[in-house]
């Protein structure tokens, strides 16, 4: 319980301290906050591993009056992934967000925003209350928008405003669904909603909430805000925006469909969600092929990679009774969430290093940088392996489990999406990789400290290690897993 609460409180306190304390103390305080929150997240994961899912009723008030927080395997795993990404972002931002480099205003704003974002993410990962989730989502949106705009450049502000428009529309749709649901059932707690007596209006409420969350997750066709926003932000911010922020709304979506209202999952609804995911895989991949800037390629690849996760809706469970080991599609999608987070953060941080080294992320300017910055090139290549879904990375584990689910449940057409998406990813990542590993150097780079270069490499290695050592994370994700994830919707 203490671990759960400290994961929420520590980053908030650190954020406040980073605002209030004089400039000299800002960085040490922020880094201290990062370290402590990382420790709290790991501690939470360990206690979930040893004791099972942890439930906390705030102030001793039980739902429906009070608010319940619950750390299950999925929430705690996302918490650890977030903590690792945040720690990496902090280590990279130590260099990139120096007042001399980024300007005093950006450097002032970055640390509190990052810590606030972290607190909000942790809140979403453990909340069981629809309105609490709304507040968490809004906090994420506001900090994320501010992070996009933090450089103060005109294009960044325009991208941030566009993002804000979409995100607010998404929030209001979600809120409308929450209000309808409360009006019908008088509760906002996910567990109590699961036990409610269904009414005809539920479909509308779930539809509104889902639509809002899809906008925030940037699922095709609501993805148009994502690439400009993610590429306009400074690289450490992009890493958080791409690796972590969409996961929050996606998690709520999963909790709604798998835990709160699983009986509303009609074949048509499931097909629509997965179909949009498939379109996202294709469309994101094709657009990534057409980009000339590293960060835009990586941002479009986020659109594609998030699409895979939506295949979980029709595939979860599979024919669990016939082949017990086939009931892994749900876990496969969760592996995709975790692996993509680590790999995508590694890619954006690598892009940040290139921008710091040559002042641009155009493919023509990053040519040959692998020779001067070998660790960064290696990190990008390793992260690509995860995005391609090649063994032994986490991306492969995800693809394998989802494909097995597809075949076991007789819906093998979805496997085309998984295989085709992998080939498309190979196509769009091949260009940046050949550019980085080219023999001739286009622009002579500034030297980059080793400690900074190692940051994306460690993240990329973690994304591979997650696949290589997948049996423990697999079991961990089963803790507190909703039954519908095993039996199928």
């Amino acid at each position: 319980m203490t671990a759960l609460i400290s994961g929420l409180v520590l980053p908030l306190l650190a954020a406040l301290a980073a605002i209030a304390l004089p400039a000299r103390a800002r960085l040490p305080v922020a880094l201290l906050g990062v370290g402590l929150t990382l420790a709290a997240s790991i501690w939470l994961a360990i206690s979930v591993w040893t004791n099972g899912a942890i439930t906390v009723s705030l102030g001793g008030w039980q739902p429906p009056i009070g608010i319940a927080l619950r750390a299950d395997g999925l929430g705690a795993a996302l918490g650890v992934m977030t903590a690792l990404v945040m720690a990496a972002v902090a280590l990279a931002a130590r260099h990139e967000m120096e007042p001399l480099v980024a300007g005093p205003r950006t450097s002032f704003g970055f640390w509190p925003l990052m810590l606030l974002l972290w607190a909000a993410l942790n809140a979403v990962f453990v909340s069981r209350d629809l309105f609490n989730l709304y507040v968490g989502l809004e906090l994420i949106t506001l900090t994320a928008v501010a992070l996009v705009a933090i450089s103060g450049k005109a294009e960044a502000i325009a991208a941030a405003l566009r993002y804000l428009l979409f995100a607010l529309a998404g929030s209001l749709l979600y809120l409308a669904g929450v209000v309808l649901s409360y009006a019908a059932h008088g509760t906002l707690d996910i567990s109590l909603l699961a036990a409610r007596t269904a009414v005809p209006g539920d479909a509308l409420a779930l539809g509104l909430m889902t639509a809002g969350l899809l906008v925030k997750t940037a699922l095709f066709p609501f993805h148009v805000w994502l690439p400009p926003a993610h590429s306009a932000a400074p690289a450490p911010a992009s890493a958080m925006l791409s690796a972590l922020v969409p996961k929050a709304s996606l998690l709520i979506l999963l909790r709604l469909w798998f835990e709160a209202m699983p009986e509303l999952a009609t074949p048509v609804a499931l097909f629509t969600l997965a179909g949009l995911g498939a379109l996202a895989v294709i469309w994101g991949g094709v657009l990534a092929l057409l980009q000339a800037r590293l960060k835009l390629i990586v941002a479009y690849s986020t659109v594609a990679q998030l699409g895979y996760i939506f295949l979980v809706f029709p595939l979860a469970g599979g024919d669990g009774a016939a082949q017990p080991w086939a009931a892994g599609a749900w876990t496969g999608a969760m592996f995709q969430m975790l692996g993509h987070g680590l790999a995508k953060a590694a890619m954006f941080l690598a892009a940040g290093i290139y921008i710091a080294a040559v002042g641009s992320d155009r493919l023509s300017d990053v040519r040959g940088l692998a020779r001067a910055l070998p660790m960064t090139g290696f990190a990008f290549a390793l992260a690509s392996i995860t995005l391609l879904g090649l063994p032994p990375s986490a991306g492969f584990t995800a693809k394998y489990l989802l494909m097995t689910g597809a075949f076991a449940s007789g819906q093998w057409a979805w496997a085309f999406v998984l295989v085709g998406g992998g080939l498309l990813a190979a196509a769009y990542l091949y260009r940046p990789l050949t550019a980085i590993f080219a023999r001739e150097i286009a622009v002579t780079p500034r030297p980059i400290p080793w400690g900074w270069q190692a940051v994306p490499l460690v993240l990329a290695m973690l994304s591979v290690a997650l696949g290589l050592l997948s049996s423990v994370p697999f079991d961990f994700l089963q803790i507190g897993r909703p039954d519908q994830a095993a039996e199928g919707l």
Binding site: Q323, L390, M403, T404, F407, A426, S470, F474
Partner: protein
């Protein structure tokens, strides 16, 4: 000990790989010691294991990942055959590569991936389940890509791209086949053939086709062979590795595993997929030879020759008669020895005399006698002259074809032999009977390059002469077939 040895076998290549990546460019001595030490250590372990296996020990190591994903390393007779071949040739290729590159740039990267590639091949050979086979198969693709692209010039990068465009869809097909099959049968282990009764014959045929496409890309089956001649842009040690030790062999080895350990010879016959596979292999054998005839570059000619020769292994597996199988399996070793000899020599001609095209070979027999003698031995073996290695393979394949009731295969073998002679004999004629161009500067005072070629050329002769001995590749292949896959 029974679980640690398979892991120990991976380490002599994995550890040097991991360390080599971080070595500074100019620490040549340390890098060479690491590479050679690893190779020697591994060979020693294999010899030790051969002795142990002969006295009845079994080895198995298991690493469970997510459910269904189990990395299983197991040592059986077939694995031993492949792993002994790759370990021996790895040591020779390492010696050759060290001499070939000297003090050129980016060697830490090269040898890092070189070792990684061999580690992947070892893992592939030791894989005891379909999914671990796939994992190492992919690792092999990833680790050979930087080797093909090593020179980083336009032709190399283009070759590497072609390699990926063939390899990735191939592995997608393989993954598709594995998951399709396993979703019905559960995880497939090579020790016990899976129960295929849950799938209808049409689905099984489709799965078989996907499997063959998946491994066929690496084995260079026509029409999936296009990457192999393109990959000739790579340096000579890489070609040697690709053609004789790792990639192409991994494909052929995969065909054998899939035919005998996944489907089983009986199921293959019942499904009626053996004959189509034999036809594809035959077409590949003839087409590869015809294309080789048209090539003017030595390495390109050798590449098409590989396309043709590797399909002997596939043909042996497809015919599914014991003698044909023996012929196919023994060719796994024989083709490796002969082809690596030829590539070693091609590399020496290129590096020491600047000869890339066949007309440059005129009169080289007198100028570079050792290299030319080795080259001639390798080429004559490929043609199948007795008592060289290639003859043994072809003899058994021919017997097997009659045994399997497919006498048309004899015509294929005959045509292929004639074609082999047609594209190799002119080279030998040029080497030994034509006068050389006066101004060619050449010498073969490079023991690191010539010695490995001499060793493999001698082995080409040795495995043919001593074929009757039980420890020869033929003896081993006979053992595998009679013990493991006998009817």
């Amino acid at each position: 000990m029974t679980t640690t040895l398979p892991v120990l076998l991976l380490l002599p290549s994995l550890v040097p790989a991991a360390v080599t990546f971080f070595l500074p460019q100019d620490s040549h001595a340390l890098r060479n010691i690491l590479q050679l030490g690893g190779a020697v250590l591994k060979l020693g372990l294999i010899v030790w294991m051969l002795v142990a296996v002969a006295t009845g020990a079994t080895y198995e190591a298991e690493f469970p990942l997510a459910p269904g994903l189990v990395i299983l390393l197991r040592i059986d007779a077939l694995a031993l055959l492949f792993i002994s071949l790759s370990a021996t040739l790895w040591l020779l290729t390492t010696i050759y590569a060290i001499a070939y590159f000297g003090t050129k740039a980016e060697l830490s990267r090269f040898f890092g991936f070189f070792s990684l590639c061999v580690a992947a091949t070892t893992g592939l050979a030791l894989s005891g389940s379909l999914i671990s086979f796939f994992i190492f198969f992919e690792l092999l693709t990833l680790s050979t890509w930087p080797l093909v692209a090593h020179k980083q010039d336009k032709p190399s990068l283009a070759a590497a791209r072609v390699y990926f465009t063939y390899a990735l869809p191939g592995s997608a097909a393989l993954l598709w086949a594995i998951i399709w099959l396993e979703s019905a049968t559960g995880p497939v282990l090579f020790t016990e053939p899976p129960d295929l009764s849950g799938l209808d014959p049409a689905a099984l045929r489709a799965i078989f086709a996907l499997f063959i496409i998946g491994v066929g890309v690496k084995a260079g089956l026509v029409p999936l062979h296009g990457w192999l001649p393109a990959a000739m842009a790579a340096p000579a040690p890489v070609s040697a590795l690709l053609h004789a030790v790792a990639v192409v062999k991994a494909g052929a080895f995969g065909v054998v595993r899939i035919v005998y350990d996944v489907f089983g010879a009986e199921n293959m016959t019942a499904l009626g997929v053996g004959v189509p596979l034999a036809i594809v292999a035959s077409v590949t054998i003839v087409w590869g030879s015809v294309r080789a005839l048209q090539q003017d570059e030595i390495k390109k000619r050798l590449a098409f020759s590989t396309v043709s020769q590797v399909s002997y292994i596939v043909l042996g597996a497809a015919l599914a008669s014991p003698l044909a199988m023996i012929g196919g399996l023994v060719h796994l070793v024989h083709q490796g020895l002969m082809k690596i000899t030829l590539f070693f020599c091609a590399g020496i001609y290129d590096e020491r005399a600047g000869i890339k095209r066949i007309n440059g070979l005129n009169g080289m027999g007198k100028r570079m006698p050792w290299t030319s003698a080795c080259f001639s031995l390798g080429a004559m073996g490929m043609i199948g002259l007795p008592p060289l290695a290639g003859f043994v393979s072809k003899f058994y394949l021919g017997l097997g074809a009659i045994e399997a009731g497919a006498p048309w295969v004899l015509a294929v073998l005959l045509a292929s032999t004639l074609l082999n002679a047609a594209y190799f004999l002119p080279l030998l004629y040029r080497l030994w009977f034509l006068p050389c161009a006066a101004n060619t500067k050449c010498d073969e005072r490079a023991p690191g390059l010539v010695l490995p070629a001499v060793v493999t050329a001698t082995a080409t002769m040795g495995v043919g002469l001593l074929a009757a001995s039980p420890i020869s590749p033929l003896g081993w292949a006979t053992l595998i077939v009679t013990q493991g896959y006998g009817p």
